[in-house]
């Protein structure tokens, strides 16, 4: 793979002030339901999340990165869009694709809340016409769109945007597990390291899919995660937003 621009490391870093620390990626309700109680459960949970919403988000991020990159000063403005026949659906079109792939209203809200926060952080960090266009067209865009556009702003490729998304899909809930279950952080990082090859596969698959039209982006979902997300917003005890 090409060298990683250091700017992209900023985007992947959990210290990026974009609100991620308050989202558990469905882990908090899974813990509340006793579905995740130990390290082995966490491994399974992360594996499942990566294969479902992880892939969906990574593909959306890759598509967004490619789309945002087309706004660069030396590219066609406005970009011709979604790669599908005759499409000029703009950022709203891609945002609608994300909605269609996020059946749970609670998860939609969580994705938009994180997208809004990431847009704030990314636009304070980089200036990029694709990122600006996204913020102008969609008030609180879905998180993977902002991630993809920010990756473009940071000089990353769609494949790298997908990798950052896949990494975040696992690393976010893993960090929440340390906080909620008191798991050994060294053990949890070993689990993440064991998943790294899977993250790369997911990023490959996502980037390949994103090279086609937006309509054909992958849409695997996890009904249990959807249900847990809905249960979570009704729970009395909630430490995380999602």
């Amino acid at each position: 793979m090409a060298e990683i621009p250091a700017a992209l490391l900023l985007l992947a870093d959990a210290r990026l002030p974009a609100g991620g620390h308050a989202h558990s990626g469905g882990l908090e309700p899974a813990v509340a339901a006793h579905a995740v109680t130990d390290l082995a459960d966490l491994r399974d949970f992360l594996h499942g999340r990566l294969a479902t919403t992880g892939l969906t988000g990574a593909a959306l991020a890759a598509a967004a990165c490619a789309y945002a990159a087309a706004y660069a000063p030396d590219a066609d403005i406005p970009p011709s869009g979604d790669g599908s026949a005759g499409g000029r659906r703009g950022w709203r079109g891609l945002d609608a694709e994300a909605d269609a792939r996020t059946p749970s209203p609670a998860q939609r809200r969580a994705s938009r809340a994180q997208g809004r926060s990431l847009a704030r952080a990314a636009r304070a960090t980089w200036s990029h016409p694709g990122l600006d266009a996204l913020a102008a067209e969609v008030r609180a865009p879905h998180h993977p769109l902002v991630l993809g556009a920010a990756a473009a702003a940071a000089g990353g490729t769609p494949r790298q945007a997908a990798a950052v998304a896949a990494y975040g899909a696992a690393a976010g809930p893993a960090s929440a597990a340390v906080r909620l279950l008191g798991l050994d952080p060294l053990d949890v990082h070993r689990v993440l390291a064991d998943l790294a090859a899977r993250m790369d596969e997911v990023a490959d698959e996502a980037a390949a899919a994103a090279a086609g039209g937006w309509d054909a982006l992958p849409a695997p979902s996890a009904p249990l995660l959807d249900l847990l997300a809905e249960a979570h917003v009704r729970a009395g005890l909630r430490l995380f937003e999602s």
């Binding site: 210290r15 002030p17 974009a18 609100g19 991620g20 620390h21 308050a22 989202h23 558990s24 809340a113 809004r116 926060s117 704030r120 952080a121 929440a176 906080r179 909620l180 009395g236 005890l237 909630r238 430490l239 995380f240 937003e241």
Partner: protein, 224 residues
């Protein structure tokens, strides 16, 4: 109020056109929510107010403030912090900024937004990106050596409130010493002694906030 100077030359003014954002931090149980309620009662008829709470558990603080009816429900918002109350007010303020922006969008002009942090340890401090001014609340019965030890909140807050003075004798705390130590580590920045049990409206703190609001307005009016 035990202030050596009656104004703080470093006091921040909010950019013109937006509310003054006042952070209220301090350890769990020191009286942050009680002070937030007191300020709402004291100031709500003079100023357009809203509150953001950051309780680590559920929405306790927001629910308490709603039950106490210190403000209409839609002026109180709760933010969840993923077990990291200090992160949400210092390292990554995005959820709090979004909450403040939403309140502002919903209510138009606001004069003052109070942001109550989740209870934390003595190292907690509000980012200047979130709070223009901050109050740190200590419990007088929680150990009278705390002001001497200092820490960012105790030393740097724009106002230090030593609350629950009514309990100090029971806990064997020497409040005069706490005040002396606090003034020393704070380089003369103001310290207020309160008992929200005996004087639930915290008049001295409300007066300090009024002064800050007047100065913020003055600064906004003087801005080109």
């Amino acid at each position: 109020m035990g202030a050596h100077h009656d104004h703080d030359p470093h006091e921040a003014a909010p950019p013109a056109g937006r509310a003054l954002r006042l952070g209220i931090g301090g350890p769990v149980g020191s009286g942050k929510t009680a002070l937030t309620a007191a300020l709402c009662r004291a100031l709500r008829d003079e100023y357009a107010l809203a509150v953001v709470t950051n309780d680590i558990y559920t929405t306790e603080d927001a629910d308490f403030l709603r039950r106490a009816a210190v403000l209409p429900d839609d002026r109180i918002t709760a933010v969840r912090t993923g077990c990291c109350p200090h992160t949400a007010i210092r390292d990554d303020i995005s959820a709090n900024l979004d909450a403040v922006e939403d309140l502002q969008a919903r209510h138009g002009r606001l004069d003052l937004v109070l942001v109550e942090s989740g209870g934390d340890n003595l190292t907690a401090l509000f980012s200047r990106g979130l709070a223009d001014l901050q109050i740190f609340v200590l419990d007088a019965a929680g150990g009278d050596d705390v002001p001497r030890k200092g820490g960012p909140g105790v030393a740097q807050a724009d106002l230090l409130v030593i609350n629950k003075t009514d309990l100090a004798p029971l806990a064997g705390s020497d409040v005069a010493r706490m005040e002396r130590d606090a003034l020393r580590v704070r380089g003369g920045k103001p310290v207020a002694l309160t008992s929200l049990r005996e004087r639930p409206d915290a008049p001295e703190v409300a007066a300090w906030v009024r002064g800050a609001l007047r100065r913020a307005r003055g600064a906004a009016a003087a801005a080109p």
